[in-house]
């Protein structure tokens, strides 16, 4: 099994805070599949910089408010 990337995220928490945006709706908003959103949420896939910005914009936040680097 590949080692998960050391990037953390608050996707699930932010989806719940923003009226329970579904994984499908978020996926559509940023132009990826729902499975990719699930993989990002679970920390199994690190999104591209472009997708990271798109995700942050959906929540009206900065990239660093959504993603972090595991120390």
């Amino acid at each position: 099994m590949a080692k998960p990337p050391p990037i953390t995220n608050r996707l699930r928490e932010l989806r719940e805070q923003h009226g329970g945006i579904s994984q499908s709706a978020l996926a559509e908003a940023i132009g990826v599949t729902r499975q990719t959103v699930i993989a990002i949420e679970l920390g199994k896939y690190s999104p591209s910089l472009e997708s990271a910005f798109r995700i942050a914009r959906v929540f009206d936040l900065g990239v660093e408010d959504v993603f972090g680097w595991e120390a």
């Binding site: 499975q35 990719t36 199994k44």
Partner: protein
């Protein structure tokens, strides 16, 4: 796998399962034909061009039928282009399958250099191509399973 779990399987992983199964079945039939013919002849059977063409035609028809059925079941997913993660998975699988294809192909060349059996060279190279393609889909499945 439950219907709910099946819904969570990415469309491209489903297509990889279908293509791997079709190619594996086709390859098994081809190998069986070559082994049976070789046993009957007492030497490596020569390539039968008609069978090779039939192999490709059957594979293409089966692929089109199964892919159409999958696409009809999930038209939205089928029409969506591969996203960034799926492109990475496709690239990695294609890269790794290249190595799988090269190893038996080199073995085939080595076998020909030693035994000068052109018929065996044909079958082994054909087998390399089949293995390469099957492994491409198998690697895709593994990568989708890891990152889902």
């Amino acid at each position: 796998m439950s219907p709910a779990a099946l819904r969570n399987v990415p469309f491209r992983e489903k297509t990889a399962w279908v293509m791997a199964a079709i190619l594996a079945a086709g390859s098994a039939i081809y190998l069986n034909m070559v082994i049976s013919a070789s046993r009957a002849l007492g030497q490596t059977a020569p390539p039968v061009v008609g069978f090779v063409i039939a192999y490709f035609v059957v594979i293409v028809i089966a692929s089109v039928l199964f892919m159409s059925a999958l696409a009809a079941a999930s038209p939205k997913e089928a029409n969506t282009p591969a996203d960034e993660r799926e492109k990475i998975i496709g690239d990695k699988a294609g890269n790794w399958s290249g190595y799988v294809m090269v190893v038996p192909a080199l073995g085939a060349l080595w076998h020909y250099a030693v035994n000068t059996d052109g018929n065996m060279l044909f079958h082994l190279v054909f087998l390399s191509l089949m293995l390469g393609q099957i492994s491409d889909y198998v690697f895709q499945i593994v990568l989708y399973r890891q990152a889902s």
